[in-house]
Symmetry: C2
Subunit: 358 residues, 2 copies
Amino acid sequence: MSSNIHSVVIVGFGGMGKYHAELIKENNSLEVVGTYDVLEARRTDSAKAGYKVYESYEEVLADPAVEIVLIATPNDVHKEIAVRALQAGKHVICEKPVAMSKEELQEMLAAADAAGRVFMVHQNRRWDEDFLTIKKMYDQEIIGSLFQIESRVHGANGIPGDWRHVKAQGGGMLLDWGVHLLDQLLFMIDSKVTSVSSSLSFILGNDVDDGFEAILQFENGIKAIVEVGTTNFITLPRWYVKGIEGTGIIEDWSLTGRLVTRNNEGQKIEPKPIRAGVGLTKTMAPPSEGATITEALPQPAALSSSFYDNFAAVIEGTAEPIVKNSEVLRVQNLIEAIFESAEKNQVLKDFDMYGEGK
Amino acid sequence: MSSNIHSVVIVGFGGMGKYHAELIKENNSLEVVGTYDVLEARRTDSAKAGYKVYESYEEVLADPAVEIVLIATPNDVHKEIAVRALQAGKHVICEKPVAMSKEELQEMLAAADAAGRVFMVHQNRRWDEDFLTIKKMYDQEIIGSLFQIESRVHGANGIPGDWRHVKAQGGGMLLDWGVHLLDQLLFMIDSKVTSVSSSLSFILGNDVDDGFEAILQFENGIKAIVEVGTTNFITLPRWYVKGIEGTGIIEDWSLTGRLVTRNNEGQKIEPKPIRAGVGLTKTMAPPSEGATITEALPQPAALSSSFYDNFAAVIEGTAEPIVKNSEVLRVQNLIEAIFESAEKNQVLKDFDMYGEGK
């Protein structure tokens, strides 16, 4: 019944909408047939790019040629656009963060269920090679079982753009970048989050956070530190992970990094004390020569298919979604716990939706 | 009444005792005249080094030629040795961590008061140049007012030595290294700690912590992260600090580092979006060319004198102690709060002794 190429209308033709249009050009499962945007300038952009320009959202929904609505608007209008699309019988791809609250998301998921249509959130950073390199290390215990995972994204530009400054539109760094970093961790680590503590940063004087730090403790013993900053003129490494046998680092998006592990073949030589500052230390002396091995990062893990191909296969009933809605709901719930922990300055426990709705 | 060279007996002639002996050779205020150690091998070391070897602690205390007892034993016996020395009319220099508990320290301070003798803890890392460089930045707001201070010490050797593994002797990294890093922060930042959260690491299977992380929130708005690890085969920077105008980093003990600040003279150019992983980001793009300035670290701040000279001057009544006992007690209290926060996995508030006993 379904063709092999599925038609997409992009709603919201800003930076992300245009980026989707470019990426879908390279994809064989989906095809962008048109766009809708409330701003005149973006309708002009779309026409120039050769897409059909819908004059109203009603027109999109009424067009039987449209199979999929892709939502790339500010966050506060995701819900209404998604629910109306689902009710009109369209499948929906929604940008992240999916919703303003867990309740909004639940409403969206109920609409998808009622309509029997596919709803999938574009958690595209599950496909990032830096993350998939860490995932390989985690799954295959390349530096031994990982027990500490630090995931940081640092910039010095403040919060760019317009609506990303505005609380009512779902701005702020916890929602914008936190949703990716948290989604990656929960996707990789199959264990319950037993506690979270966090703090938000408001250095730039916006009404939304310009950065945050959250510390997650998992039931399986892993501690994860997730940090986003937009006032960091020097960046700390994108990933810093500790395993039983060594440490791994990925400096940046270019996948510069290395593994340093204990050399179990080497002689056991006590390190020599060094003078560090005005004191002596053996504890913090560099390991003796030959005591460690430095290696290149492993190749990234591979996911079963691209986001768009997976979405098409789910529509066609031939695959399970890689980004499951129960996972997206769990991340949304975790984000709300992080906001609450920061506001109360308390460690939160017993909140995680791990295992629910699987 | 007092001579200008004060006689010292070192009690505990292990690594730190010997290090003191070497350092005091270069000092004009103090002179090591003898040592006492319970181990035969160390008595031999001391004799070889030309020091008088006391056969018992009683003999040290009974010797009127001894003005100062310097305690460099395991932590669990500091108190008894110190109290007996003070009661015998000696001044005392004590290694860190000063005591097993706040109560022990209070007993030591009461003995010093009762005897009218000087008791000072060797918090020598207040003189570390890396710390004094950060202190200069803090005091002079070189990258603007600092609002985040991250102080880390990472090693890969586990916990070396013998008694440092043993809880009953005051082992573990929070007591061994934490006491330095926390002392530095409280010495530098004149503000109350309003909350602390922490976790300890027990990866090596000792009965003491092999590392910890503590997050301190100060009343003046500063957030500090203090972390010690002994299973870090790759080290994160010794210091990472964020100010309103820029970021500073000190990589290691060799004072490799830099400042990167906003270029207020430069044109305001929006950064260009970059492709990072599979996504686009303007937020995390590097700042535009000319938007920042990179500078060398400033010269370290200077303290009024060396530890030993200050100790001698305090004995002579010509100076206030640089390491005040009220400060040492406050750090001990903070350490106990960090243990409690980690054990309960809670944020602790309303515990800081800021301003008490000043």
